[in-house]
């Protein structure tokens, strides 16, 4: 394994400039390999104090745990010896409820599961259900779903960026990122009438076609949003405090990351170039020109870099999607799943029957099962659906990326300081709605 030292030229540092007025170049790695930004020599440790371990309970009601996560930490001084996470405070039984709902009725539940990524979940669920029904969606619908999924990826990463900044002590990027997130919410509101709980898709199509002038809104965002990213990066990437608080924390090697089932930016920051959009493509992602950013140190700082770069790539995808958005119908022409137009339902016998059967009985997929993974902002999200031929799934399983990512937190925080637990936890980008379901 290659070993090389990483040096980052810190521009914004509390130590300021050197005599010549240039930003100080601070080696981030000390001779002894000890932690610390400004240490030339590792601090000589006190002789072992008599080990009295302390029990610290963080959460479940603590803003830094990003929801109702509870961490019980065993501390030796300030160093974490053991971490025992507790989850389940938000368990709502989505999967159980889904067994009593028709496929289109499950879509609102997917909004509420990873609530920072609702359009992405809607798209993922619809893709899974369409595989189960054996439906090929229209080209316009595919491109619209790509736009929805990438917008929600940016949205989710912005929330991650803002909240992580607050956790680590920077307030300004939070305001910038949430302003941009608000802009996306406004766009979604014009499309589907809701901001968080979008319920954007239906099996075989979308809730609605985009309103007139909507693509210009997205185009404005695509043109302007990289400026915000530049501002945020200028604020953070070479900021001495930010670098000092994030670098070298929660390191996972590529082999470990794969073994722990990590996915998404977490896995890629550890140096594994695996993205579902590239390796198991869906919605024609292989025809878009975009890169998969990969880190090579697997720490919190690399996760930050990967997420920021992913937002830039999402902007690229959005730009291409807007350029290729074809005309044509949004919904498939399949009376099994798509309601006929109201005028037809009231004038034609066939359409009325389809309307009646769909509303009263619900669309019925053939017997079968499928697992359709997508690349959500948190990682690999898969919907595993089993049908026994009735209108309601036998089993509807969410493969929650945050759940699996969070299960590695004891491994990540061991040996780090208590204050670093907050930064590491923030870097996982958890959403408790998805973890507890």
């Amino acid at each position: 394994m290659a070993t090389k030292t990483r040096t980052i030229e810190v521009e914004l540092s509390t130590t300021g400039m050197d005599a010549a007025g240039k930003p100080q170049r601070i080696p981030l790695v000390t001779k002894g390999g000890g932690a610390g930004l400004l240490m030339e020599e590792p601090i000589a440790l006190e002789p072992d104090l008599d080990g009295e371990h302390m029990l610290i309970n963080i959460g479940p009601q603590h803003p830094a745990t990003h929801g109702v996560l509870r961490l019980v930490l065993e501390l030796d001084g300030e160093t974490v010896v053991r971490c025992i996470p507790h989850i389940g405070y938000l368990h709502c039984g989505f999967e159980k409820i889904g067994e009593y709902r028709q496929y289109n009725q499950i879509i609102p539940w997917t909004d509420r599961e990873d609530y920072l990524n609702s359009p992405g979940n809607n798209v993922a669920f619809a893709l899974g259900a369409e595989r189960l029904f054996g439906i090929e969606i229209t080209p316009r619908c595919t491109v619209l779903r790509v736009i929805a999924a990438e917008l929600s990826r940016i949205m989710s990463h912005l929330v991650w960026l803002g909240t992580t900044c607050i956790d680590i002590g920077a307030y300004t990027p939070f305001l910038w990122s949430f302003t941009r997130r608000e802009q996306i919410y406004t766009m979604l509101e014009r499309w589907c009438g809701a901001r968080l709980t979008t319920s954007l898709t239906r099996v075989g199509g979308m809730l609605a076609d985009i309103p007139v002038g909507w693509t210009e809104l997205v185009q404005d965002f695509v043109d302007d949003f990289p400026n915000t990213l530049n501002e945020i990066e200028a604020m953070l990437t070479k900021n001495g405090i930010w670098v000092g608080r994030t670098i070298g924390l929660g390191v996972m090697s590529p082999e470990e990351a794969i073994n722990y089932g990590l996915s998404g930016p977490l896995l890629r920051a550890s140096g594994v170039a695996y993205d579902v959009r590239k390796d198991f493509p869906y919605m024609d992602y292989e025809t878009y020109d975009f890169e998969v950013p990969v880190g090579e140190h697997g720490d919190v700082y690399d996760r930050y870099l990967v997420r920021v770069e992913e937002m830039r790539q999402s902007v690229r995808i959005l730009d291409q999607a807007l350029k290729r958005l074809p005309d044509g119908p949004v919904n498939v022409d399949d009376p099994r799943v798509i309601l006929p137009p109201k005028t037809k339902a009231t004038s034609e016998m066939e359409s009325m029957i389809h309307h009646f059967k769909q509303v009263m009985e619900g669309p019925r997929p053939p017997v079968g099962e499928c697992y359709v993974p997508v690349e959500s902002p948190k990682g690999e999200k898969g919907y595993y659906m089993v049908s026994d031929g009735t209108a309601k799934p036998v089993r509807w399983r969410i493969r929650p990326p945050s759940f699996v990512n969070l299960s590695a937190i004891p491994r990540m925080v061991e040996g780090h300081l208590l204050s670093d637990v907050i930064a590491i936890n923030a870097s996982i980008d958890i959403v408790m709605g998805e973890i507890d379901r």
Partner: protein, 238 residues
């Protein structure tokens, strides 16, 4: 202690075991409901394990291998270790119970080979009336830790060899059974009044599990009556 952060890792790419001229992956189109290309690992499994492979089916383009319940541990281990398979990634682990009582419960593993870009579903059938037990794959994939706990919590399936099999989403004193089983009513077994009574009757002091209380010093800080109750062997939980 974690690895020193001076190290930078070599990049691992998915699909790196495939030949250079292999077809790049594409969005699947017009997937047939049954039949189609079978994952080559299924044939390899047949060669290696023979009778332990009960049947193979391809539904919606995904290969499912039904294996004998006692041998899933070694089969998954082989799939992970064999250089021609390299299923290094556990995507998902769950269980399925069907609506009719006769159909056995199924435990489902979704394995992924990043180097070969393959996807394989392993299933084990647990007939009704038999003990719901199956090997844990935790020694092979650490990702299985919480997934198996969730499966135990929701279906009551025991995973032999799991280091810490206890409830994860429901609390430790939950006594209503296993919520995702079909005989579990949607609203729960107990009435709302009973659920509320149990919630109010919980001992708020017992918010640490026994394992956590074993952490030194915490025990000494507990109130006297709590220590007495713990010493008498009273179970604790969250």
């Amino acid at each position: 202690m974690n690895a020193p952060y001076t190290e930078s890792f070599d990049i691992v790419s998915a699909g790196n075991a495939l030949p250079e001229d292999a077809e790049p992956p594409r969005t699947p189109v017009a997937v047939p409901r049954q039949g189609g290309a079978v994952n080559p690992s299924a044939a390899a499994l047949r060669d290696q394990f023979g009778d332990a492979i009960e049947r193979v089916s391809v539904v919606w383009g995904e290969t499912t291998v039904y294996v004998a319940r006692g041998r899933v541990g070694e089969i998954v281990r082989w799939l992970h270790d064999d250089v021609l398979q390299q299923y290094d990634y556990l995507s998902d682990l769950t269980a399925v119970e069907y609506r009719d009582y006769e159909t056995p419960l199924e435990v489902v593993w979704h394995l992924r080979s990043l180097p070969y870009r393959r996807f394989l579903r392993i299933k084990v059938e647990l007939p009704k009336g038999t003990p719901l037990e199956v090997d844990s794959v935790w020694p092979v994939y650490h990702a299985a830790d919480w997934m198996e706990r969730e499966c135990f919590d929701m279906f009551g399936i025991s995973f032999n060899g799991h280091p810490d099999l206890r409830r994860i989403l429901m609390w430790e004193q939950y006594r209503e059974g296993y919520p995702l089983r079909k005989d579990f009513p949607l609203r729960g077994r107990f009435s709302r009044a009973e659920q509320l009574r149990q919630a109010l009757a919980q001992n708020p002091e017992a918010k640490y599990s026994m394992e956590e209380l074993s952490i030194a010093e915490a025990y000494g800080e507990l109130p006297e009556d709590m220590r007495r109750r713990l010493a008498s062997g009273e179970p604790t939980g969250e």
